[in-house]
């Protein structure tokens, strides 16, 4: 038997908790081709990261990620830090020969993402794998959606409708967290949740977004400064500051296959908590997904007999559905964090098989380029703007 794959995770915020569930559960629920060990948790605050490591079950903690990626006993580096540090850590880890799982979005800028994709390509030649953490691809209903589109269930894609709507900024008293400042977060609703619907659209349709026309908006522009030392949910302190990222992004994309896709990323959709919806319409049928009803996939089959057609709510909890057989019997619901286990399954399986896991860094870069094009379109009066490198077809 081979030595287990030993994982170091850099970062320990909300995503750290979610990734930890994945590393903890996947080997116990699925039959992995390689054993994995939660070896080291890395963060800057020694006490805090030690506490988190103890809580989540990492064997040890450390404060210097460079030292950790230099260790011989580490095989996989999982990056869940804020976006501005992704490039540096990921590239260093890949160059050190570590497989890398990097949380989305791949980076804060296209330039960083390009460097990362280059590094991943070079690493791949040496058998080192890189993967971006768009975990929603691994919600079973989303994977099934991709599979059914690939099998022709909707025929030729003619229209796509995607939205990711939350409401946590509706309250104007919500303080000015780092996520609302461009210098730290890079982008707002667009980069954080818009990235998901771009990736998911490209994933399920198998088509890239080639051109975009869009508008970014900051609905509440001044917010209370955060009190010192408070986290994301921290109390407001004295004074106010300016929100420098978007909190609403509305854009239209042209897919490589020629169809239009509408996108909305909003943090002002009052009452919508995590409403990622995606509908793909084609000449043979349609498929619709809603993350607030994540065990279902709705399928309209235009080839069904006349008068018997309608949206079929497929409960994606049967053993024939993607990832499900390792879990529970039909009708037993899966939740948000199951995708993180599936991500570990796919990454470890790819490593063991010597194959490239998806989404690749190149796919993460592709999303980054779309985000960038949306920003440029918004700055240019919503003009249709080509997505660098994604463009395959002449403009209409």
């Amino acid at each position: 038997m081979t030595r287990p794959l030993r994982v170091a995770m850099i970062g320990y915020g909300f995503m750290g908790a979610a990734h930890s569930v994945g590393w903890r559960q996947a080997p116990r629920v699925f039959s992995l081709p390689e054993a994995v060990e939660m070896a080291v948790l890395v963060g800057r605050n020694a006490q805090a990261v030690a506490d988190a490591a103890a809580q989540w079950g990492w064997q040890e903690s450390a404060t210097d990620w460079r030292e950790v990626i230099a260790r011989d006993d580490i095989d996989i580096v999982d990056i869940v830090t804020p976006g501005d540090s992704h490039a540096e850590i990921a590239i260093a880890a890949l160059e050190a020969g570590k497989h890398v799982l990097c949380e989305k979005p791949l980076a804060n800028t296209v330039a960083e993402a390009e460097a990362m994709a280059d590094a991943a390509e070079r690493a791949s030649a040496r058998g080192v794998r890189a993967m971006v953490g768009f975990t929603y691809r691994r919600v079973p209903a989303v994977t099934l959606m991709r599979d059914m589109i690939a099998e022709g269930a909707v025929g030729t894609v003619q229209q796509v409708r995607a939205a990711y709507r939350q409401d946590w900024l509706v309250d104007p008293a919500m303080p000015l967290a780092w996520r609302l400042q461009k210098e730290h977060a890079g982008s707002g609703a667009l980069g954080d949740i818009g990235a998901h619907i771009i990736d998911m659209t490209q994933f399920v349709t198998g088509q890239t977004v080639e051109r975009v026309s869009g508008t970014l908006e900051t609905i509440v522009t001044e917010r209370p400064l955060q009190a010192a030392g408070s986290g994301l949910s921290g109390e407001a302190g004295a004074g106010t500051g300016t929100v420098t990222v978007d909190d609403l992004a509305i854009f239209t994309g042209r897919l490589a296959g020629g169809s239009l896709a509408s996108f909305e990323a909003s943090r002002f959709a009052t009452g919508r908590k995590n409403a990622l919806t995606l509908e793909v319409s084609g000449d043979r049928g349609a498929l619709a997904f809603d993350l607030e009803d994540l065990n279902s996939l709705r399928f309209y089959d235009r080839t069904a007999p006349e008068g018997r057609q309608g949206f079929t709510q497929i409960l994606v909890t049967e053993s024939v559905h993607p990832y499900v057989s390792a879990w529970w019997p039909a009708g037993h619901m899966l939740g948000y964090e199951h995708g993180f286990s599936h991500q570990v399954v796919d990454l470890v399986t790819a490593i063991a098989a010597g194959k490239e896991p998806h989404p690749t860094f190149a796919e993460g870069l592709s999303v980054q380029r779309v985000l960038d094009a949306v920003e440029r379109s918004s700055e240019n009066d919503a003009a249709w703007t080509p997505v660098a490198a994604n463009v395959l077809t002449p403009s209409r």
Copy 2:
């Protein structure tokens, strides 16, 4: 007791059937302040219009609308012809002193709509009323939505999301009806169903659309020619022709209050039959409507106690709800055509009271101007385009 109001209806297609239900039912279900009579049905084909009049219960039929509007015994002219004849008939009827109900959209061009609005303004000074047939305003749930927003239920509007999705053009074998030819129909999905969501947005928010950025698309550009003499659902004949109107319109609007609104009008939303959805989000709550579930209005109240918030499905079938007390007990559903009865109620009530019914021709013109701006934006690379005369505020 006064003489009944006698109605002449010009046109007898699908909308003629729906308007006939309104004229037939309203006086029998509601207590109208004036009696009404279904006097004359007007159409060009003498036999066909006589048959329709007999079927629908009009006292007589006629073939020359000019003669009919010249008659002293006609008080109201109801226009349900295709859009290219609206202006001529409506202006003539108003000048002849007849109250006019004109089916939406008001006209095929802004110029026509302007002339109609002018005529309506002049007529109003003489006590002659004009109304546009945006009947969806009178679905009880939509009226309630307007009322609740006016009462402050959502607070300040921060985002609007509107869509009207159908799928009757998905079949590429669907022949080239007149509705798919610009010279006859003026516009495609945008003008036909997009007009509804523009009007409904302006109605429920009380805010006009001031600027737009949008894209029009024709997904299937060549279709079989219709066989001679076949109607909307006619068999395909020999040869093909070019579709010259849009079948998908995606646009973003800036409302007078400053918020963004997204719009989609599609005839390629596979499986969606008549899916008009509208969601208005504000800082105190949100309201959501779906025409495929037309007896419901969903309300999210951000002022409700923490942990008890959620979308409340108000079944708009109680006697305290708009228009409902004249119908059935709570829980007894209303359908599509009830709005046409409500339209008659409101028109006759306004005439009797000497007041202006809504939507006025000026409101119809406002919608027309938005449609026009969307077309111009689409032709100009989706650039943000001001809506003539609707613009109240400086551009952001």
Copy 3:
């Protein structure tokens, strides 16, 4: 052309309004084989019935139903009085050679219903038709449910689940209306709304209920007396009285095919306004209907491919669906009262064709016998009780 069928309607309460819509709309929306005329409306209070006749469009009014059914110019008698007068009027009308439409439930007692069914059978031999007004059979989705079960869509029926839930008695201040007194109403929730789900179950499955075990309950037993002269929604007056009918009925039935069916009729289902739900499960599939979503029928097809099964929401608004082609395009919703038009269509069509319309009085009697058996079971400690005459098979 033949003389129109002239209708006299006896009674003018809520059901009178609903039946009037049917008589008014059906000839204008459908192509009836015979013309119909709304001739006479009959009630005991001369002024009130004259007012109702004028409002609803009946040509004249009268106060003596015996005189009216003796008239030569009346062809159809439509009975919408309280149940205790159904037998007398219906039998007299049938003997006078009038076709009869009698609102459900057929009668207040089995004996009355038997006499009515006998009279109907005799009348049928003379070409005189009788029909019970279980209009929910004619909601298109319910008719489609029957058709699909007949076609084998669910295979062998193995279980049925039916409920009719309202909440208008939850308020203990709701006064003691005649509907809550056994001497006038005969029965409570069981007879009024339970009758619907029994008929609908027998209709869609084609199987009678043979045996029942059930419990009747009166949740609020004392209520304020109604103030004199107030109607159903009248204010409470002085004093209280005893509710002598059930307001909740829960029973289980054994169908002729051998399967069990559960039934619930409740007026204490808080928040449920008119929630008639019916689900039929078989070895090949299942069908589910909900009156609060009356344009939909949900179909689960066990023969669909594995992993693609689910409940399909068929929007029963397409021209191929029962009754729909006379109305609107796909996706345009029908409401509660459309069933009353369909009832007129089917009655007039049967009269013209010289055929028996359904539901026959014998079918109405069958429902009455089930109601009676439930009452007897409830009085007998919920013991399984045969339904007289419906029993075809030996007890298990």
Copy 4:
């Protein structure tokens, strides 16, 4: 710091997997007052149990549960074997001073359950805790339902409607598993899934079921014998055998507070996979839960303003909701197995606090007595049958 609580789990089927998730996740996601260790997994087949222990993360495995419960280093015994061994193991473990978590139903017979409850009571006096594994109590929406009823959200309970519907026996080719044989399983749908809805009803209302009237049914009575060595999903072998347990149970209960509750447990509800639904109606409101939509709780508030009432879909994913703050942000869904973590949290918390965890064995016994009364009622022509010891009030 104290020594961790060390757990031995007896049994390793489907429930073993689910309980293992609870033991694995709870200490990593919640802050438990005591550490826990997954010490020993016990089963009869040495190789199989060793494999399961390795897969699920138990430190060691064993084949003799008696030896294990005699060990000093074991603090908690978790029993997930079939029901016929619960009593022996649980009583022995309690007498050995081990805290016990016993999967539901508590036992196969009332006599066993009584002995277990007695043993638990004796153990409690020595500080040893016992808990039954009705984990659905710990779905956050169910816990919230209990809390809201306790706070008066529905007022006085007037009606309850409970159902648990699955469809895995619809296929007549499904072989005769041990669960379908009375000698092994004790009961069928009634004992397996009916037990859940009885417990949940008693839990959320705080009222016991005092009397029942019910009918048990076996829809498919002959099934293929299972091939030797095949598990639950095993292939059919040669010959057929008789199903000796119910596959459908329909019963009505009288709660201690006086209201009626309807119950259905079915394995023939075609298309329903795990459809546990519970609705509690009262004079101030109603609450409704559906396990296939387990993150939602629907609340109807009769005290809300007229015309604004409706069922509010509370998404039970906010930090103020039970158990949720340890998991993810609002709108991030939980799944089936989260209840098993919550069960561990509550058990360990109770042990640390020296308090009794719920549901107690006495509560499990109460459910067992209801099941028993339903069986006796069914054998006695559905006669109303008192539930031994649960009866507090005189019969109506």
